[in-house]
């Protein structure tokens, strides 16, 4: 589903190129659950952003579902966002002026889904994440964990084929974090949704099937858990 070839990213400051990513090449298949790990400043977020087409690599090619998306026009990219990619952010990034239900419904509106279908999907999501009682509350009336649940619900509502999550539990307590991880795992296993997350936590990474270790912009290690560690 994802094929990176020789991705490089650098910022030129005062004539000096400071590399964030170097020679990153990898392939991620549909249904994988990948965790990107590494020390702070290693380039994890940058890599994820490139995967999410929020940033363009300075060099290299990126194929998404068989299509070269290295430099994609806006209209095409929006199509991908609507139909294939769901984002989950560390800072939740819910729209403050929308209620929980409206936040979840928003991507469906952009996808131009009919209102009956929308209603049932939103209800489904609320149900699934156990937040039916909160549907008319605004984000600032929720706890951090609850907000992240809504964030994930929003990402899932559009039925994406891949979820990109940058430290989705970074602001959460471990109990809440585990709940989110369980959820990702379930989505990955039951609905075959590809999940790519950035995380600092070995425990979180353990939920996935594969870990990419990033160090100074280079993939140092690519561990496949399902073969080596899984019982």
């Amino acid at each position: 589903m994802i094929k990176l070839q020789n991705i490089e990213k650098y910022y030129a400051a005062k004539g000096l190129k400071s590399y964030i990513l170097r020679h990153v090449s990898t392939t991620i298949n549909q249904g994988e659950f990948v965790s990107i790990m590494g020390p702070s400043g290693a380039g994890k977020s940058t890599l994820l952003n490139i995967l999410g087409m929020l940033e363009e690599p300075t060099y290299g090619t990126y194929e998404f579902m068989g299509e070269d998306v290295t430099s994609l026009n806006e209209r095409k990219r929006i199509e991908l966002y609507r139909n294939h990619i769901g984002f989950v952010f560390q800072a939740y990034h819910l729209i403050d002026e929308m209620t929980v239900a409206e936040n979840i419904e928003a991507p469906l509106l952009y996808k131009k889904i009919g209102s009956a279908e929308r209603r049932s999907r939103v209800a489904d999501m609320l149900d699934r994440f156990n937040i039916v009682g909160k549907k008319d509350l605004f984000p600032n009336q929720l706890s951090g964990g609850q907000q992240q649940l809504v964030g994930i619900a929003r990402a899932l509502a559009a039925q994406p084929s891949i979820i990109l999550a940058d430290e989705p539990t970074g602001n959460l307590q471990s109990a809440q974090a585990l709940q989110i991880m369980d959820l990702f795992k379930k989505l990955n296993e039951e609905e075959n949704i590809t999940v790519i997350q950035v995380t600092h936590s070995e425990v979180n990474a353990g939920y996935g099937s594969r870990i990419l270790h990033l160090l100074d912009g280079v993939i140092k290690e690519d561990v496949n858990l399902s073969e080596s560690l899984k019982p």
Partner: protein, 803 residues
């Protein structure tokens, strides 16, 4: 089809959701929304009121169909060496008939009498209303709407009368009054032969009822005589559509001189619709007039709207930065740029629409007050398509301009940019743009403050220019009928009655420049001196005593010197231009006669108060005087005095109505347009400043809110309230100071060129500028520091809890 419908439906749902969000946003920021909407509403209302006034003035005398073919006859007066010394609107009674008879291009021509209020009665139900005499042709010149009666014959018999609907209602309680009889001036019974719809307020020919010119001639015998040089009445003509006014003007030029060999006047036709706005003439050519002031008001209207728009834009952009996050998120979940643009535009259009509704309400509420202040009657004609077009235009313009920054700028962002840095919307560009706008706004406000003050001071200055005579308690009336022959009797009886302290007869009104001449010769005068123009008044005895004119040298005309019947007095400036060292006793050749100078008087204001007065000659002449001027006895009330005077005048001159005019009122009329300018610039200048401050208030509130976290951190680090207030206020203060620095030279330049129009004017003192600067800074500081104080006093924990 199905998909299309669904597509429309989801678009619709999206629209609804966006609208809900917009409303929630409005509600969440109630204060700033209120400031925003009401500021724009005030701006819009001000702009609308001003434009209403402008269009009122603009459409003056333009209500008639084919108003382009209607012309007013003007009279040009000869100056020295073929020049034209002045242009007047009063014409003799011979021009209209002669024009119609001689020139086929003239389709209709009418003499029109003065707009005096005269008594009209239905039995005991009597009122003083504006009644005018006119030739029947007036009905062909104007297209008065006849509710009843026959336009073609309504004014054909001398005892006919046409009344307006409201006059009919006033007299009879109904407009169904055809063929009823009314009594005019308690002298004749007239038959109503027409009821017309009320005239618009913005016409020069105002009237409540209209009577045939033939009636005028029957009532006042002397008006029957053809008089080519007695300029008393208005003359209007309607030309055939294909007529050439230029050519007609060329051929009518010598008309008066053909009949009266030594006449010094020539007629000229001038578009009636332009008389009101372009009524200033030099050398017989229109050189402007009220139109200049109107342009000023137009500028003011646009300026105020601009200020309000800037507010609106600033607030919208300020808020939109907070919404950068919303934009970023929406983009990652699949919003297109177009959908974001339309969302922001719709939001700002909804706001502008609210403002427009509020503005209409404001205009409706304040229009009566405004009308009252200006002494006019404007109303909003909701059926007028232009009104709606311009309103919708303004709303669209404001909404789109105000919404365009968030719409186009924010929506262009890469979502990562806005999501990563919380305040990435606050790029260099946006901040400096907003600062520029605030500076523009305050520049305009400061210019307005300075201009209003200068205008106010100039008007005060003009009001305080010494008139040269005592205008209070001074009354004048036309010397009609028997009042000339029986003047001595009138004088004797009035003086004996105790109602007056003095009386004199004059060739013209004291309040209005009305006559000049050239060609005077005096000891030592050269050939070129003969071209010098003097203004002139003719009088008999007691001129100085009655008017309170100050004599500098010599004396008033006196019965004790029989030779005074061929004497004259000169004004101080006349003495100066004539270069007479010892003027008293000098012999001067005036109008062909030799006259002795017996007195020199202080110049008095006869023409425009802001113009240098022409050198003046006051000559003794018994015949051909036109006005009786009275000084009322201050021991009694004016109304008691006038009642006595009226009785005596009526007794001596029963054929004529008694028409008093207070000279101070007449004089007051002269500064009318300056007063309107002063009034309007005061009101709207004040409003502009208010709106600017409102904007500043909102911006300061927003900036304080945006920096709550920073303020909290600083407080935790030990910053004092004063430190924080300084931090928050300084930026705004800098902008205001910059605005002042820009505004001062601009205002200075503008006001200097405005003042140049006046021969007598105040200067722009440094005091005004310093006061304006200090005032603006003070107001701005007050506005900003309230918000700064609030923010600085807040508990830092509250600020830091978020995030």
């Amino acid at each position: 089809m199905q998909t299309l419908l669904m597509h429309l439906n989801t678009n619709n749902d999206m629209f609804k959701l966006n609208l809900t969000i917009a409303l929630r946003n409005l509600w969440k920021n109630k204060t700033s929304s209120m400031i925003n909407v009401s500021g724009l509403a005030i701006g819009l209302a001000s702009c609308m009121l001003l434009l209403l006034y402008v269009s009122y003035e603009w459409s003056f005398n333009k209500q008639t169909k084919d108003d382009k073919n209607v012309y007013q006859v003007m009279i040009n007066f000869d100056g020295p060496a073929g020049s034209i010394s002045g242009t007047g609107t009063s014409t003799p009674n011979t021009i209209a008939p002669a024009l119609k008879e001689t020139y086929p291009a003239v389709k209709a021509a009418s003499r029109i009498g003065d707009a005096d209020t005269r008594l009209i009665a239905n039995g005991r139900n009597s009122f003083k209303k504006i009644g005018r005499f006119a030739d029947a042709d007036i009905l062909k010149i104007f297209d008065y709407t006849f509710i009843a009666g026959d336009e073609a014959t309504a004014l054909n018999a001398p005892n006919n009368i046409v009344v307006t609907a409201s006059t009919a209602k006033l007299l009879f309680g109904t407009t169904d009054v055809l063929n009823r009889s009314v009594r005019f001036e308690d002298r004749v019974n007239l038959k109503i032969t027409g009821v017309i719809r009320d005239l618009p307020d913005n016409t020069s020919i105002k009237l409540d009822y209209l009577m045939p010119w033939t009636l005028f001639e029957n009532l006042y015998e002397w008006t029957k005589r053809p008089m080519w040089t007695n300029n008393n009445w208005t003359t209007l003509v309607r030309l055939n559509p294909d007529a050439n006014a230029e050519m007609l003007n060329a051929s009518i030029k010598g008309m008066i001189k053909k009949h009266v060999a030594d006449a010094t006047s020539s007629p000229m036709i001038f578009p009636f619709s332009r008389v009101h706005l372009y009524g200033t003439f030099t050398e017989g050519k229109s050189t402007g007039g009220e139109i200049e002031q109107l342009r000023l008001f137009m500028g003011l209207a646009i300026g105020i709207l601009l200020i309000a728009c800037i507010n609106f834009m600033n607030m919208a952009t300020a808020k939109s930065e907070k919404r950068a996050k919303e934009v970023g998120i929406k983009k990652t979940i699949g919003a297109t740029r177009a959908s974001l643009i339309s969302q922001f535009l719709i939001e700002s259009l909804v706001l502008t629409l609210c403002s427009a509704v509020m503005a209409i309400v404001l205009v409706e509420v304040f229009l009566p007050l405004f009308n009252n202040l200006l002494g006019i009657k404007m109303n909003i004609v909701y059926a007028n398509p232009y009104l709606w077009m311009s309103l919708i235009g303004i709303v669209l313009f404001t909404g789109v301009v105000a919404g365009s920054y968030p719409a186009f700028y924010l929506s262009s962002f890469n979502p990562l940019q806005v999501l990563r840095k919380r305040r990435s919307g606050r790029g260099m560009w946006s901040v400096s743009l907003r600062q520029v706008l605030v500076v523009v706004q305050f520049t305009f406000a400061v210019i307005l403050i300075i201009s209003t003050t200068v205008i106010y001071r100039q008007i005060q200055y003009l009001k305080n220019i010494p008139l040269g005579y005592d205008v209070n308690q001074l009354v004048e009336l036309p010397q009609d009928g028997q009042l000339e022959a029986k003047f001595e009797l009138l004088k004797e009886r009035l003086m004996k009655s105790g109602a007056i302290q003095g009386i004199c007869q004059l060739s013209g009104s004291m309040a209005d420049y009305n006559s000049n001449f050239w060609g005077m010769e005096w000891p030592g005068s050269t050939e070129t001196d003969r071209h010098m123009v003097f203004s002139q008044l003719a009088t008999t005895y007691d001129f100085a005593k009655t008017t309170g004119l100050k004599l500098v040298e010599g004396r008033d005309f006196s019965r004790q010197f029989s030779s005074d019947t061929s004497a004259m007095m000169l004004s101080v400036s006349a003495v100066k231009v004539m270069n007479l060292v010892h003027p008293i006793g000098k012999i001067v050749k005036y109008q062909g006669d030799l006259r002795r100078v017996v007195g020199v008087f202080q110049d008095f204001i006869w023409g425009a108060p802001y113009r240098k007065q022409d050198p003046m000659v006051v000559a003794f002449r018994k015949e051909g005087t036109g006005y009786v001027t009275l000084r009322l006895n201050p021991a009694n009330t004016p109304s008691a005095n006038l009642a006595v005077v009226e009785r005596i005048v009526k007794d001596i001159n029963p054929a004529y109505p008694v028409e008093f005019k207070f000279v101070d009122e007449l004089y007051g009329q002269k500064l009318k347009s300056q007063k309107i300018l002063g009034l309007l610039s005061n009101i709207f200048g004040g409003l502009a400043i208010f709106i600017s401050c409102l904007g500043l208030f909102g911006l300061a509130a927003y900036s304080a809110e945006q920096r709550t976290k920073e303020i909290g951190v600083r407080k935790v680090l030990g910053a004092s309230v004063a430190n924080l207030m300084q931090l928050l206020s300084l930026g705004f203060l800098k902008m205001v100071v910059l605005a002042i620095v820009i505004a001062i030279p601009v205002a200075n330049y503008m006001m200097n060129s405005w003042l140049k129009k006046f021969d007598f004017h105040t200067g722009i003192s440094w005091m005004i500028i310093v006061m304006a600067a200090i005032g603006t800074i003070a107001i701005a500081l007050l506005t900003v520091s309230y918000q700064a104080y609030k923010a600085a006093k807040a508990n830092p924990v509250d600020a830091l809890k978020y995030e």
